[in-house]
């Protein structure tokens, strides 16, 4: 049974790797931050599965903290469009997405 949870954790890891492919390809920074978000959710799933496989309830605390802080990076990120939308309107303006 614990092997099954270990296998599940590995499969979720593989799906996280697929999400990282999206973070690599972009094309926009929103896509990248979404992929990071998916890695975060995947990490919580892996932590829960790993905790079950090893019978360690302490790992649930890590999962709890991870879900609590999942939104922090996103809220820092969405503050950005102000600068992107107003201060540089030239077509070849510097962009964070390059």
């Amino acid at each position: 049974m614990s092997e099954a949870f270990m296998l599940a954790a590995m499969l979720v890891l593989v799906s996280m790797a697929a999400a990282l492919l999206r973070a690599w390809r972009g094309p926009t920074s929103v896509d990248r931050i979404m992929a990071v978000q998916l890695v975060g959710t995947g990490m919580v799933g892996v932590a829960v599965a790993l905790g079950a496989a090893r019978n360690e309830a302490g790992m649930l605390d890590a999962a709890l903290v991870a879900t609590l802080l999942a939104a922090v990076a996103v809220s820092a990120f969405v503050r950005r469009p102000e600068g992107a939308a107003t201060s540089h309107s030239k077509p070849n303006s510097p962009s964070l997405d390059r």
């Binding site: 049974m1 599940a8 799933g45 939104a71 469009p81 997405d97």
Partner: protein
Amino acid sequence: MGPEFLAVLQILSLALLAAGVLFYVAGSVGLLRFPDAPSRLHALTKADNVGLGLVSLAAAIYWGEPAIAAKIALVWLFAIISSGMTAQLLARAAPVADGSGSPAEYERESGT
């Protein structure tokens, strides 16, 4: 609790785990294959949280302790709440980053 009941619980837990992993994979495939940011966001927030919920449920059944089940429920609850927030924020940020208009214009177009 008889041994049959425990066996049923175990099978249930395994089935939930498999379904959860399937949803995770579906979420990743959606993120990779969908054409634009809003539809990718939809794959991310829906499929992934269902996947987490199913994996969590499987783990809670496997552990079989109420206190741990409560903590796992809390994990899922927070995951849903924060993904609800991030989905809204990212959906509003997406058109801006695409260069296809400001959030206000996007709102008018989609009629929300």
